[in-house]
């Protein structure tokens, strides 16, 4: 799996002045690198905003499921926990898709690609990216249609009766920003959009 290889270990000072440092970290994370044009900066903000949404949804999903278990022990399970977790799951992974794509975090077989010369490698990667772009565009388009269908049929979640149509549209937004990331990668192959 393409996973982290950062250093492990706790940080005893981690909690000191945490909110201020967190705000600083968020501000610096959203700041564009020097030399980035307005379009790059806009795509970068979109990618990071969706990642933040995904992160908050992940924490929300954890909190809701934990609350549901605790309240169930107390005899009063959280009504609609199942529906909410499903909705937050879409936002979590939907939010993460452009971010993961921008970080080139998807699993691929790079062994053979690295055997090619640099121009060939760039060409092959560009063709692959165009194909992915087409796929992601179809996904975005079809999810609009799928959402319209859910809306027309008035489909709602089983417990909270929450409308479902917006969830495929959330995937559309995610796929749309992913498409922008891919276009940016094709036009500026050497420029990193976001840092891990």
């Amino acid at each position: 799996m393409a996973e982290h290889n950062g250093s492990a270990g706790g940080n005893p000072q981690a909690t000191a002045g945490a909110p201020a440092r967190l705000t600083g970290a968020v501000r610096s994370a959203f700041a564009s690198p020097p030399g980035a044009g307005p379009v790059t900066a806009a795509i970068r903000i979109l990618v990071l905003a969706l990642a933040v949404l995904g992160g908050l949804s992940l924490l929300g999903m954890t909190l809701i499921t934990c609350l549901d278990v605790v309240l169930r022990v107390l005899g009063r399970p959280l009504v609609g926990a199942y529906d909410l977790v499903g909705a937050l799951a879409v936002l979590t992974i939907g939010g993460a898709l452009p971010y993961t794509t921008a970080l080139k975090g998807h699993v691929s077989v790079e062994f053979f690609l690295h055997k090619l010369s640099r121009p060939w490698r760039r060409g092959v990667t560009a063709v692959a990216d165009v194909l992915i772009l087409a796929l992601v565009a179809v996904l975005a388009w079809e999810c609009v249609d799928y959402g319209i269908g859910l809306r027309q049929r008035g489909e709602v979640s089983p417990t909270l009766q929450m409308p479902l149509f917006w969830m495929p549209w959330a995937i559309t937004a995610s796929a749309g920003v992913t498409a922008l990331v891919l276009v940016h990668g094709l036009l500026r192959p050497n420029r990193e959009l976001v840092k891990p």
């Binding site: 981690a14 499903g86 898709l97 995937i171």
Partner: protein
């Protein structure tokens, strides 16, 4: 135009192979071939709406949230330094033996695997903790790095395990049964790793000099370092086995309690938590998008009927079942050298599942065998992700030294696979026992 589904299916495999070799992410390659293949055999409209339905279904399914939640639990444990305390405990118990530090690393990996579902994450965390110590005691660096890379693979076998969750999604087997099935093989493999280290260091003591002796009192006092892991494992996995939690709830409780413990110990602030969240997003997205791609590809495979024809053909061969299973295992071993373990699993299990069931083998046993074989794939060149992770952290040690250090452990994994073949009960006893208890 009437196309032969099997010809289109075979062409699909060829195109998929070309796309994979060209470096296209596995998830998108599978989805692309799945959509185009489905469009050729049914209709373009049906294929395109299938893409939306499968992605929506994968991303919104409540039961799949078990993946990000278990990944979050492992990430928080990783960032909060739980591995450091586990290593200290194992070191107090085993450090004085020849190769004791390496054995302590395997012990800590086994314990960390009980709260982290990923092999590379376990390797990464242990590399940062154990390698400096082994360097200090002048361990042979091939042995040291090989131990960390191979020990990390235990995280894939010992529950919770992301690979088992994905296998369960594909085969409709119970996540709980698969988790239980992984316990004994994981412990046996860990024990065999320790034996191999002992044998190596007994023959050549310079490879792993013994550390200072500790008293019984120190040993028992050190057990507190493993307390939180034990509590987490008992609460999460225990709660799941006794039927108190669903796997998703167990994962959420695990993530929540790990966050609380880390905050209470002042080892996790909002910034580290956010870093853990970002890493979780990346890993979970990577996994779930492959699952979605595999779903689309699986639909195409189903209409080509290739898996069923393959199963029929293999079952009709005048060969004993174990030879066919052996060939499948060899295939995984070979392909695992080039393709990521999880991606390989998601790509191939739908093909081999009918073969395995057709030959009368238990799917839970097969799942354990596949995880064992994919463990091998993560420490074999050219694409051994656990070895890469260790090399990424310990830049002074060349990659080929890490791979060389993994060789004895690879032999142990092969031995474990043979053991599992000869004694299938290693994987099936615990789930069967648990089912009997439930009745």
């Amino acid at each position: 135009m009437n196309l032969d589904p099997q010809i289109v299916g075979l062409l699909g495999f060829v195109v998929l192979l070309v796309l994979l070799v060209s470096g296209m992410p596995v998830a998108f390659a599978m989805a692309l071939v799945g959509v185009v293949g489905f469009a050729l055999l049914r209709s373009p409209e049906a294929a395109m709406s299938l893409l939306a339905i499968d992605f929506y279904d994968t991303l919104s399914r409540q039961s799949f949230t078990v993946i990000p939640l278990f990944v979050l639990m492992g990430q928080v444990a990783f960032h909060a330094g739980i591995s450091r305390r586990l290593f200290a405990t194992a070191y107090t118990w085993m450090g004085a033996l020849p190769g004791g530090l390496a054995m302590a690393t395997v012990g800590a990996c086994t314990a960390f695997g009980a709260i982290c579902g990923s092999g590379p994450a376990t390797s990464a965390t242990m590399a940062a903790v154990a390698l400096p110590e082994m360097k200090r005691y002048k361990y042979d660096m091939a042995l040291a790095t090989g131990t960390v890379a191979s020990g990390g693979t235990l995280g894939m076998m010992i529950p919770p395990s992301v690979v088992f969750i994905c296998y369960a999604i594909l085969t409709q087997e119970s996540v709980g049964d698969l988790f239980l099935a992984g316990v004994l093989p994981g412990l046996v493999t860990g024990g065999l790793f320790c034996l191999a280290i002992y044998a190596l260091c007994a023959r050549r003591p310079a490879m792993g000099p013994a550390g200072p002796r500790t008293t019984i009192g120190q040993k028992f006092a050190a057990l507190t370092g493993a307390g939180e892991t034990l509590v987490l494992f008992a609460a999460v996995i225990g709660g799941m086995f006794v039927g108190f939690f669903t796997p998703t709830e167990a994962a959420a409780i695990g993530a929540g309690v790990t966050i609380l413990i880390a905050f209470a110990r002042r080892q996790l602030g909002p910034r580290l938590l956010w870093r853990a969240v970002y890493e979780t997003l990346r890993t979970s997205c990577m996994v779930l998008i492959i699952v979605a791609g595999a779903m689309v590809f699986g639909r195409f495979l189903a209409i080509t009927s290739i898996p069923f024809e393959l199963a029929k053909w293999l079952s009709s061969l005048p060969l004993p079942g174990w030879t066919i299973i052996g060939v499948i295992i060899l295939f995984y071993l070979f392909a695992g050298c080039f393709v990521d373990a999880l991606a390989l699993l998601l790509l191939t299990v739908p093909i081999f599942q009918p073969v395995v069931t057709g030959l009368g083998y238990d799917l839970v046993w097969f799942g354990v065998m596949i995880v064992l074989v994919t463990q091998m794939g993560t420490i074999t060149p050219p694409v051994g992700v656990c070895a890469y992770v260790v090399n990424g952290i310990e830049r002074d040690v060349p990659l080929q030294t890490v791979f060389k250090g993994c060789l004895p452990f690879l032999a142990v994994l092969i031995l474990a696979a043979v053991l599992l073949m000869l004694v299938p009960g290693l994987a099936t006893w615990l789930p069967e026992w648990s089912a009997r208890l439930a009745r």
